[in-house]
């Protein structure tokens, strides 16, 4: 592999292309040849770097990590001469805002340990040689040439790796179960149907380091004795699907996939299957049905997929992150991995932080870190100086945790004991302006819509839960509603077929537990303490503060705001639909919300 002292990543996002990224790319390549630098500077095409609408065409230069934006062909000769020949950063071409990739991931924050995310943003996902240069496929070589399948399972068992999809079942145990089933052929599936709103860890790994997942799957297939694998990726992630397909064909070219891998007699094939926008397909039996080309409806377990999975054959299903970490365990040893984390939850976990914190994005931390550290140290604290109210973990099937839970060590058992769950790793942080009844309603809207309809408790139950929440938010709550909710929740949890129904009431249960007073305020006082529920609030313009700039009346969708320029405006409460746009656009904080 040639050695380059500098790498340029140029965005060939469709929007950048329409703004001339190809011309800039050609000009850059030509100019590097003209100035004799083409052996020293490598130019790579990549997906979007910054916001293409404001910054395209743009490029990133490593190792300096400089982001140049709004480039044109005429800028290139000067840029090449200054930056690559003389080594001076050209300030006038630098991007005015941070790169998207940087914002999502960025440099490791304090307390972060990157194992799964180690290559993200550093290597070219379209180039297998980049991955190999970072010790890629070395673990595979070791496994296939020097280890027996049982040894691989033992090694992963010792590492304590647990399934990262949310349930936390020991990965090696699952492999062992599948291996021991006396039926062939065996299949491998990778659950890349990351549907939890607020979770995007898997997307980043699939887009930026697809080979780690491919390598992990080949190792798992060797351990289990599978000949065919499927990566089931959701249709909302087109770039992930594209990069996986490129990675698979490159791995095949290099002999890591296909017949007789490394001359060992072991053969394995891999294929990407796309979902089509059904959340329930993240449930393993539904995922299998979808791979088979059917409606993605779950079925009762047992039999578990390890016994009867894809086409009725033994199937091992793991999450993206579980597979991606396997090569690292093989390379660095089980003890290295087990040295991180808590007694029962070993290693590191990626989390997606979203909501009302200063630094949203992806992090990877060892298990055992506290929620407080995640929110206030890694996440930088709550936005706009507001107060922390709650954190939703485990997605729409999880629960919310409050102030008193902030010092819990983050691991599978502690979260379950606190009434929530680990889930796939989405953390949504809510400030004190969030209405918890409205949040519960939002989650019920989601599960009600995504319920596949196969079993009655989930299909009808989630709809009833949603209706009661809508009623309460609309100011029509009645005494007895809370008891009815409690009853419904417990019935749905006990009687639903799959994890979706069994988990669906979780947000309601935890929000009623921690924020019962807020529910009661909605029902008995017809008030929304957080001032969110539209039926229970009104907007008012404070005349002394209003400057009459007219920005509110111009943005009001229903023309409910009137007033002369430079005079205080008024809101017609009869016309107002309480959308809150006026308060958002007001530059003087002249619009207040009353409950």
């Amino acid at each position: 592999m040639a050695f380059y002292r500098s790498h340029v990543l140029i965005s060939v996002d469709p929007e950048c292309l329409s703004r001339g990224a190809h011309e800039v790319l050609d000009a850059l390549n030509d100019e590097l040849i003209v100035q004799g630098l083409n052996d020293e500077v490598q130019v790579l095409e990549t997906s979007r770097i910054g916001d293409p609408y404001r910054l395209g065409p743009d490029m990133l230069v490593y190792p300096e990590n400089v982001h140049y934006a709004n480039l044109s062909v005429d800028d290139i000769p000067y840029l090449v001469e200054e930056h690559f020949l003389k080594g001076r950063v050209v300030e006038k071409f630098r991007a005015s805002e941070k790169a998207i990739a940087d914002e999502e991931l960025g440099a490791p924050k304090p307390k972060e340990v990157r194992v799964v995310l180690r290559n993200c943003g550093k290597i070219d996902p379209h180039n297998i040689e980049d991955y190999i240069a970072e010790d890629g496929y070395q673990a595979l070589a070791r496994v296939i040439t020097a280890m027996k399948p049982e040894q691989v399972i033992d090694e992963v068992m010792q590492s304590g790796l647990r399934g990262r999809g949310g349930a936390g079942f020991p990965a090696a145990k699952k492999w062992q179960l599948c291996r021991q089933v006396p039926d062939n052929p065996k299949y491998l599936t990778c659950n890349a149907d990351e549907g939890d709103p607020g979770a995007f860890m898997n997307r980043r790994v699939l887009e930026s380091d697809p080979h780690s997942v491919v390598e992990g799957m080949i190792i798992a297939a060797y351990a289990i004795g599978a000949r065919m694998g499927y990566i089931y990726c959701r249709a909302e992630y087109p770039i992930a699907v594209q990069n996986l397909n490129i990675a698979i064909s490159q791995a095949r070219e290099f002999g890591f996939l296909g017949e007789n891998i490394f001359g060992s007699g072991f053969s394995f094939e891999l294929e990407v299957r796309m979902g089509a926008g059904a959340f329930v397909c993240g449930e393993e039996t539904a995922l299998i049905a979808s791979i088979e080309g059917k409606r993605g409806e779950p079925r009762p377990r047992p039999p578990f997929p390890a016994v009867k999975g894809v086409w009725g054959k033994p199937t091992n299903n793991n999450n993206v992150e579980t597979y991606a970490v396997v090569p690292q365990i093989i390379l660095n040893g089980a003890n290295w991995y087990a040295s991180m984390g808590t007694e029962k939850s070993k290693g590191t976990k990626t989390f997606a932080i979203a909501g009302d914190v200063i630094h949203t994005g992806l992090i990877e931390v060892p298990f055992g870190i506290t929620l407080r550290e995640v929110i206030f140290e890694v996440g930088g604290g709550i936005k706009d100086g507001k107060k922390f109210k709650a954190i939703q973990t485990g997605g729409p099937m999880g629960g919310c945790l409050v102030e008193e839970h902030l010092d819990l060590p983050l691991d599978y058992e502690a979260l379950t004991a606190a009434g929530s769950m680990m889930g796939s790793g989405g953390l949504i942080i809510m400030d004190d302006e969030t209405c918890m009844v409205d949040m519960a309603r939002f989650f019920m809207e989601f599960t009600q819509d995504e319920s596949c309809g196969k079993c009655t408790p989930c299909r009808v139950g989630t709809r009833r839960l949603l209706e009661i929440h809508e009623k309460i938010c609309a100011g029509n709550g009645e005494p007895g509603d809370l008891e009815l909710l409690e009853d419904l929740c417990s019935e749905i949890m006990k009687n639903s077929l799959c994890g979706l129904g069994q988990g669906a009431p979780n947000p309601v249960v935890s929000m009623m537990k921690h924020f019962r007073a807020e529910y009661e305020a909605h029902i008995f006082e017809k008030k929304c303490p957080a001032k969110v529920c539209r039926a229970l609030i009104c907007y008012e313009i404070q005349p002394p503060v209003c400057t009459g700039c007219t920005v509110c009346s111009r943005n009001c969708p229903v023309e409910a705001i009137s007033g002369e320029r430079r005079q205080a405006h008024q809101i017609d409460a009869a016309k107002c639909i309480r959308c809150g746009i006026c308060a958002q656009v007001c530059n003087f904080n002249a619009i207040s919300v009353l409950s």
Binding site: D51, P52, Y53, I100, E103, E104, E194, G195, D196, P197, G198, A199, F200, R203, A235, E236, P238, R273, M274, G275, A276, G277, A278, F279, S290, I291, E292, G293, K294, R295, G296, E297, W311, A352, I353, A354, G355, D356, T360, G361, P396, G426, I428, M430, T434, F442, F443, F446, E450, C452, V551, N555, P557, V558, I577, C579, G580, I581, Q584, V585
Partner: protein, 165 residues
Amino acid sequence: MEATVTHTDGICDNKRALLDEIITANRERPGALMVVLNETQNKVGYVSEPMQVYIARKMRVPVGAVHGVVTFYSFFTTQPRGKHTMKFCMGTACYVGGVPQLMEKAKQLTGIEMGQTTSDGQLTMELCRCVGACSQAPVVTVDEEVIGRIKPTKFPQLIKKLLEG
């Protein structure tokens, strides 16, 4: 636009050719129906009822099975979409981050509801599930593009641009 011949089954010739191509390329794969439907949705833009019947006959599966799969997954549509499709992300971060307000504004500017297409066929508006760009909330997608951190004051320009061209 070249002239298209419509057969009695309601599928024009070039769509039929496209369907044949998709089915031939994938029919031997195990679990081919999802692959075929995904390809059809991507290349034709929708999977109408006549197309479902055609796919079922060609693949030798019951029409009910095809219809069942098409209606189960939210990505498959039975009607053509507009020239542009704007999807409003309803993930938690976007919901908290102001997508409901953007939807309100969009409905006012276009005069259509979510799931509908403007009468001139320019724009379809839909809700969608989390697109995984939560750190950029509020997010909408226009065709394949993810547009994040939308300011309410800048949003009308985007809609107007789509309605015009």
